[in-house]
């Protein structure tokens, strides 16, 4: 990947394309990537996009220099801000937020996320920070999962702890809020979506310079494989220009 963009840029652009005009996107800790993506989307195809940055509760923040923390006061030049306690209410309501941007130490074939621990909870080999708002994933119309680490340690058969619920494994089972669940996974190598029948993750596109075999090698479960895997369309000049305006200095994303 040597052309005029890096993984962060490509991932931000791919996420931006997934946001539709008028939607409401919510993101949590370490928001660099989804924040950049929302701002790119708003600048290009989704001028009426709304986005909420986690802890600070800022709505549509548009800072001159994007900070890295979700609670940084430099997010304050925003359309407005909601108290975090109100965001918790809106998440639980289940009919207001369209996209939840989430990640995990582990992500499995059904899109379950785990931010809590690798190994047994009572004595983990790796203790993560904790789950914050991820139990609300099923309450939002759909979720977009992203990670900078496309490895077999991250993409596992079954997460050791469900902290952000994905699709139900059982056939026909419905999630309580009857939403779409995980719809897109974005990594530095590829994008994945979910088979509407089996609800298992499948490869959707490989980024320029990456092959399907490369992706399979670093994925710890049998990733669904369509007959033909398209290449992720690289960022356009317009996308890169929009991104340049909003990218945090030196951010590599989560």
């Amino acid at each position: 990947m040597t052309p005029g963009y890096d993984s962060f840029a490509l991932m931000a652009v791919v996420m931006a394309r997934a946001f539709r005009d008028g939607e409401v996107v919510v993101m949590g800790a370490q928001p660099a990537l989804p924040l950049a993506a929302c701002r790119v989307a708003r600048a290009l195809h989704a001028p009426n996009l709304w986005y909420i940055v986690g802890g600070s509760g800022t709505v549509n923040p548009d800072p001159a220099v994007a900070p890295d923390s979700s609670c940084d006061a430099r997010l304050a030049p925003a359309a407005c801000a909601l108290p975090l306690t109100d965001i918790v209410l809106l998440e639980g309501r289940g009919d207001t937020l369209d996209v939840f941007c989430a990640g995990g130490l582990q992500i499995d074939a059904y899109g379950n996320c785990n931010l809590i621990c690798v190994g047994e909870w009572s004595r983990p080999t790796l203790r993560g920070p904790g789950t914050v708002g991820l139990p609300f994933l099923p309450a939002v119309r759909r979720s977009v999962i992203y990670t900078m680490a496309h490895t077999r340690r991250t993409f596992v058969k079954r997460v050791d702890f469900i902290s952000g619920p994905g699709h139900p494994a059982a056939h026909g089972e419905e999630r309580p809020y009857r939403q779409q669940g995980p719809s897109l996974v974005v990594t530095p190598m590829a994008t994945m979506d979910f088979d509407p029948e089996t609800r298992r993750m499948r490869l959707a596109s490989v980024h320029p310079g990456v092959t399907a075999t490369d992706v399979l090698k670093v994925t710890g479960f049998a990733l669904g494989m369509p007959a033909a895997v398209p290449e992720t369309p690289p960022p356009t000049d317009a996308e890169l220009a929009a991104l340049r305006r909003v990218r945090p200095r030196g951010a590599a994303g989560p």
Partner: protein, 290 residues
């Protein structure tokens, strides 16, 4: 009674007995009441239970590193883009203290609302049902029947800290305090606490306080003690006054990678908070706030 203005040492000595349930405010690397937290470390004051905001950073990790937390209720202890929380991680991975009462942001926020309002317990919105959280935390999560639909649901217990320590931006002479830009869940935490110690950056007049909007202020009758400590959130941010000092936080994260390094860092916190704040007063941002 008129608000009591105390030094960090006096406030901790008077309101935080060892073994209490402590609520500590601040979210991610913003508005952590670090002057009060450092004083807990200096005094070796143990929290029987620590309740944080939905996302704690140094205010939790420092206390955990010093061995001062028996149990913790926190949906997140970490440092966002700067990395994981070294002491919290080490404790969990080696089976040391604190015992973790696994919890998420929504349940915590609702549990504090319940605690603040005398509501005995709080039925959870769906979502938590699909996670492993209630399974590992039967102390906080129980099944309950919805008397209107007959459905079984998860419920979370109400939370009431014995003392909450929070950072606000301002106080007036009556001890009424005002938050900076973001209230996070610190407002709920303050309302739920049996007593409340507030660290502030500065004093304003009662007329200035009067102009603040409802929801920004906590009246003096809720405030047990006010500690005026300009720069006291350092190295976390005081929103609108100074930013987090990421270099200092990185230095902490590096030091705290092992117990010896942590001990060195803790030993460097100076003998008094005054001395500490004097020392950091020249850091960018803090300088302007003082």
């Amino acid at each position: 009674m008129p608000a009591r203005f105390l030094s960090p040492r006096e406030a901790i000595a008077e309101f935080v007995s060892p073994g209490l349930t402590l609520g500590i405010g601040g979210m991610h690397m913003t508005a952590a009441p670090m002057s009060l937290v450092r004083e807990l470390v200096r005094g070796g004051v143990r929290a029987g239970r620590l309740i944080t905001s939905p996302s704690a950073s140094m205010q939790a990790d420092l206390l955990i590193g010093a061995g001062l937390v028996d149990e913790i209720i926190s949906p997140y202890v970490g440092f966002e883009h700067l990395g994981l929380a070294p002491c919290f991680r080490r404790a969990a991975e080696t089976g040391g203290r604190p015992r973790i009462l696994e919890c998420d942001e929504g349940s915590l926020s609702h549990a504090l609302y319940a605690g603040a309002g005398g509501i005995p317990f709080m039925p959870c919105p769906p979502g938590i049902d699909l996670t492993d959280i209630p399974r590992v935390n039967p102390e906080m999560f129980r099944r309950t029947g919805d008397p209107f639909t007959g459905e079984e649901r998860w419920a979370v217990c109400a939370l009431r800290p014995d003392v909450a320590l929070i950072a606000c931006r301002e106080t007036d002479p009556l001890g009424t305090v005002a938050f900076g830009r973001f209230p996070f869940t610190d407002r709920h935490l303050a309302l739920a606490a049996k007593s409340l110690v507030v660290q502030v950056e500065r004093m304003v007049t009662t007329a200035e306080m009067s102009a603040r909007s409802p929801g920004e202020t906590l009246p003096g009758f809720l405030v047990s003690a006010v500690v005026v400590a300009p720069g006291g959130c350092y190295p976390t941010a005081s929103p609108g006054l100074y930013h987090a000092d990421e270099d200092e936080i990185r230095a902490y994260l590096k030091a705290a990678k092992d117990p010896e390094g942590f001990a060195g860092y803790a030993a460097g916190l100076d003998a008094t908070e005054d001395a500490y704040l004097e020392r950091v007063a020249e850091r960018p941002g803090v300088k302007d706030a003082r």
